[in-house]
Symmetry: D2
Subunit: 331 residues, 4 copies
C-alpha cells in the first residue's frame, strides 16, 4: 500500500503511521509517502485524515506500478528517456575496458556516430577465478578520461558491494549486473544516490523478483531506475541465453519504469546481434545496449558476442530506420 | 552424410550403397541422393566413382543445413517465400474454427486487407479432456468453404496421426503443432505429401531436435518444410511462453528452411501482440502467424491471446512499416 | 465437477444431464458418473434428485484427485500396486529390443532375480530419422516370446497412434512415452482398453498438463493409469534431464494414481543410476523403471545410461534394503 | 592447470612462474602450488625442473576435481564429513532467527535429539523490501547464545559483502546463499578464512558455474568448501523449486567436495519434506539441511516449508533408518 500523506502533517504523526504499519517513509519534494507491504490493504481508520490518497496493490510491485503512476521520465544532462518521449537511448561499447588504446578507439567511434553513452565494465563478474577479472579502479579512471575527452556519458557495472561507492562515483548511469541484482548491499547503495541505475534482470529471475529488486532502490528514494532485459537461461544452449521480449511487453504494460534491452548478452554470438537489435528497437523501448569492440577476436571477455566497428555501423543505420518506422528516435 | 549420386548410376548399385551405409535413398528430379547418419564421415572407397558430391556434417542437421544448400524457396500458388525473396507471409485467423459466422467474419477481414492465408484449428490439441476439442472434420469443411468463397489459402493443424490424412487433404499448408512435433506418424505422412508443412517447435524442444524433426519430413522427400518458433516454456509464468528470437537468428544462420514466428501463442496475452509482431517482422523472417477473432472474449479456446479486428488492422499497418524499413514486404 | 448418479436413474435423464452440462458420461460397475469441466461448480437444481454425490474441483484434475477418492489400486495378474499396499514394482530391461540374444539374456537375468516385468521398446521415438528406429512389430513378437518362456509381464511403448493397437495387444502394461503424452489418438485408444497404462510425463510438461493427460484416459473409462516421472528438461545439461522428485511428492499428495520413477532416463548416464534408484525408492513410490543391457557399450540407443548386469544386481540389493527401511517391498 | 612445485624452490622462481603463466600462487603446508586457467595445457619447458607434478584439466573445475585429488575431508571440532567417512551431517533450524523464544525452543529440540548443528538466518536475502529482512547482528548474537548454552555449532548466511565479516566471525560454518553465490566480495572473503563454507547453488546456476564459484574460495587458500544443492528454477511452479538430485550424482562423481542437500527450500512445502529428506539421504551425501520451526504458521519467512517439531522427529527417525540401510550414519 502506498499512502500519500497530506502536506503539513506533523512529523510525529508521520513516524507513528510508518511505525504502526511497519512501513517505509520517503520524503519527496512533492510530498511524503509511506509504503507498506502489499498484504496491508486498508489504512486504520484513525489515520484516514492524514492520507491524501491511498493505493492498494495485489503484490509488492508498488512504486514501480502503472497503477501508481504513469511512465517515469529519466533525465541525465541533455538526454531524456521514458515518459511521453519516444526515445531509444543507444549505449554501446566493449564488454570490458581492457587498455587505453581499445577504449579510445571505441569512444572515437561513438563520437563519430554522435552516440552519447559509452558502456564498459571495469569490475567483471566472471564465473571463473582463472580468467580476466577486469581492470578495477584503473578501468574506471580510463572511462573517466574518455568522458572528458569525448564528452560521453559512462555506464559501468557494480560487481559487489565492496566497490559500489567507486562505481557510483565514476558512472553517469550505474549498472547492476544480472549476477548481482539480488544484492541488498548494492541495491541499498544505489537507492541512496540520485544517479540513474540500470538494473539488469538475473538470468534466473522472475519478472516479479526483478521488479521487486527495483522496489529496493525506489523505496530508498531514488526514482531513476531503468529495467534491462538481457536474456534468461532456458533449456536451449545453442544460443547463450534466450532474449525474453515477452518480458519487455509485460514490463511496458504493467510498470512505470523505462525499459532497455541487451541483445548482445542474450544471444552471445555476433551473427545474431543485427537482427535482434532491430527486433528490440521494434518493440518500442527506451534503450538498447550493444557490445562493440575494435577487434572482437582479441577481446579478453565475451569475445564471441562483440561486433566490430563496421558491423556496428550497419546495425546503427538499420535500427535508425526501424525506430523511424514506429515513430521512435534513436538518441 | 549426403551423397549426390551421379546420373545414370545403376539402380542396383544405388540400392547397394544405401543398404551398406544404412542410408535413406531419395529420388529427386535433379538426381538421386543417399543420406546416412552424420556419424558416417567417409564413403567407402569402392563407391567413390558413383558419387557426384559428398557433404559431411557435424550432426544430424543435414538436408536442412546451410552447408548443404542455400535458403530454400517455397511456392504455393502465386505466393513464394524463402530463397532470395524478402517476403514475410502473414497468416491470420482464430485459434479454432468455432462456427460459420465467426470464421466467415474473419475470412472477410482477411479479404478486405488482401491477406492470403487463413489459419484456424479444427482438431485442437487441448490439454484437458473437459474443454472444447475443435469441430474436427466439420471444421475442415467450413475452412474449405472459406477457401472457395474468398479465394484464401488454408493452414490447419494435425493433432495426431488418426486424422492426418484429412488435414493434409483439406489444407494448403499443413501445420504440425508444438505438442505433436515428435510424432513419427504425422512426420512421415507429411513427408509423403508435397504440400508445404509448417512445423512448430515444441515448447520444450531444443533447436537440434526441432531441426531433426524437419529432417524426418525432408528425408521422406518433401522439400517444403517451414520452421515455426512459437514460444518455449521457461521459468517465467507471467507470460504464457517465452518467444525465442535468438532461436530465429540461429535458424536463419544455420538452416536453409524458411522461418515463421508466432507472437500470439508466445505471450498468450493480447496486450503484447502488437509490439511482438513488430519485433518478429524486424527479425527479417519468412512469415508471421497472428491470432485474430471477431470477439476474443467469447472465443472457445485461447481467449486471452486473440486480438480483435480493430487491433489487427493497427498491427497490420504497423508491421508493413517495419517490413518496409528493413527491405522486406508483407505478403 | 463429478456427479455420482443414483442407481436406477433413467437412461434418458442421464443423457439429458450429460448433454446439458456438456459432460462426459461413464458407466461404472459401481454406478454411473458424469464429469464436466471444472469451471462448472454447481448442478442445476432440477437435477439434484438424481445426484448421489457431487464433487467440485478447483481445476481439471478431477478423476485423478485425492479429493475424489483415495489411492487407486492396480492389479495385473498376481501383482498389485497402489492402494494401501506398500509395493514398489521393479520394471527393468533394455532401452530397445534389438535382437533375440540380447533380450533373452535380459529376460533370463530378471527371471534369476525374480523380477516380474520386462521393459523394452519396439517403436523407438528417436529424434533423428538417421538412427535406429526400433524393430517395430518384430520387436513386439520377440517380447511376446520372452513373456511365454520366462513368465514375465511386458511393458512397451506406443510411439504414435498408427501402431497403438499393436502395442496395446502385445503389452501387459502399455507405456505412453514422454514425447507422445499429449497425443489424443494414443490417449483415447488407451482409454478404451482396461490394461494398465503407464503415462510418462513429457520433459517440458507441467504437472497440471501431466495429470490432465491422465484424465483423458480415465474419462474414457480406463481406471488403471500409472504416472511416471522420468526427468524434465532444465537449463542444466551436464546431465541429460533433471529428475523431479518434488513432482513425485506433489503427485503422492494430490492425486490418487500410482507413481513410478525412471532414474535411468533422467540422468542419462550409468554412473548415477545406483544412487538415484535408491533415492527414488526412498520416496515411497509404486514403481521403478531401470534400463539394463547385457553390453551397454553396444546398445543401439541410450548406450550411455544403461547399466550392465553386474551393476544391476548391486542396485537391486541396494534398493531392497532401502525399501525395507521405509516399510516398502520391492516386487 | 595445477602445478605442484618442488619443495625448496626459490621464492623468486615461484613468483616468476606464477607471473609468466598469469597463475595464482597458493602456499600450502604440504607444498606450494600454482593454478592457471584450464586453457593452459603445457608448462613452458624451462620450468619443468621445478614442477613436482602437473595436472591438466578440460575446464576450470580444477582444485575441486576428482582428477586432482580424492574426496576431501572436512573437520570442525569433533565432527567430520567427506573423505572416506560415510557421515551425513544433519543441520536443522528455522529459516530465520526471529526472537529468543523460538530459537531457544529449536535449539532445545536439537539438543534433545543430539543434533549438533543449528541453522538460522540473521540477514535474510528477501526479494521484496517490504517483508521481514532478518534481525541482522542481533540475530547473530542470539545464535551465539544458543551455541554457548546448548553446545551447538552454528551455520548462518552471508547476504552481501557489507556484513560478511560479521557472519564469518559468528558462524562455525559460513553459508553463502543461492542468491549471493556469484558475489566475488563474499567468495573472496570466505577464501581468506579457514572456517568451512557451505556454498549453495544458485537456482539459475549451471553445475559448471557452481563448481567454479567454489574455485574462487579454494584458490584463495580455503580448502573447506561444501557444495549444497537446494533446488533449481524450472518451468514447474506447483512446487517452489525442483530438487536436482542428478546434480548431486554428478558432483559426487566428478568433484572432491562434500555435498549437502536441502529438501526444504527445494519443494517449498512442508508436505513433501519427509519423503524428499529420505531420498536425499538415500543418495549417500555428506549432509542435509532441514527447516524446522516451533510454529511454522507463525514464521516470518518461508512459513509454508518449515515443519514442526513433531514432524521433524518423525523425519529424523526415518532418515536414520535409510542412512543405516545404505551404510551411512546421520551425525
Amino acid at each position: 500500500m502506498i499512502i500519500e500523506i497530506k502536506v503539513n502533517t506533523d512529523k510525529q504523526i508521520l513516524e507513528q503511521i510508518a511505525s504502526e504499519l511497519q512501513g517505509i517513509l520517503i520524503h519527496k519534494p512533492e510530498g511524503d509517502i509511506i509504503i507498506t507491504g502489499s498484504k496491508t490493504k486498508k489504512l486504520p481508520e484513525k489515520f484516514n485524515e492524514f492520507a491524501e490518497k491511498i493505493y492498494v496493490f495485489e503484490n509488492d510491485m508498488q512504486l514501480s506500478s502503472r497503477q501508481y503512476r504513469s511512465k517515469r521520465e529519466i533525465r541525465f544532462g541533455e538526454l531524456v528517456i521514458g515518459g511521453i518521449h519516444k526515445n531509444t537511448l543507444l549505449m554501446a561499447g566493449p564488454c570490458a575496458v581492457e587498455n587505453h588504446e581499445m577504449i579510445d578507439k571505441t569512444a572515437l567511434l561513438l563520437k563519430e556516430l554522435n552516440i552519447k553513452v559509452l558502456r564498459a565494465g571495469a569490475y567483471k563478474p566472471r564465473t571463473s577465478p582463472y580468467s580476466f577479472q577486469g581492470l578495477g579502479l584503473d578501468g574506471l579512471k580510463l572511462l573517466d578520461k574518455m568522458r572528458k575527452i569525448y564528452d560521453l556519458k559512462i555506464i559501468s557495472e557494480v560487481r559487489d558491494s565492496t566497490h559500489a561507492d567507486e562505481v557510483i562515483a565514476y558512472s553517469d548511469i550505474v549498472q547492476i549486473g544480472a549476477k548481482s541484482m539480488y544484492d541488498h548491499g548494492i541495491l541499498r547503495k544505489c537507492g541512496k544516490t540520485r544517479k540513474p541505475v540500470l538494473l539488469k534482470r538475473g538470468f534466473g529471475t522472475t519478472l516479479q523478483e526483478f521488479v521487486q529488486a527495483a522496489e529496493f532502490i525506489l523505496s530508498e528514494g531514488n526514482d531513476n531506475v531503468i529495467l534491462c532485459e538481457r536474456g534468461i537461461r532456458t533449456f536451449e544452449n545453442k544460443t547463450r541465453f534466450t532474449l525474453d521480449l515477452c518480458c519487455a511487453a509485460y514490463l511496458k504494460q504493467y510498470t512505470n519504469l523505462p525499459i532497455v534491452l541487451d541483445p548482445s548478452h542474450a544471444i552471445g554470438y555476433a551473427y545474431g546481434v543485427h537482427d535482434l537489435a532491430r527486433a528490440c528497437v521494434a518493440m518500442g523501448v527506451d534503450g538498447l545496449l550493444i557490445e562493440v569492440h575494435p577487434d572482437p577476436s582479441q577481446a579478453k571477455s565475451d569475445a564471441s558476442q562483440q561486433i566490430n566497428h563496421e558491423e556496428f555501423k550497419r546495425v546503427f543505420e538499420s535500427i535508425k530506420a526501424v525506430a523511424n518506422a514506429i515513430g521512435y528516435k534513436i538518441i
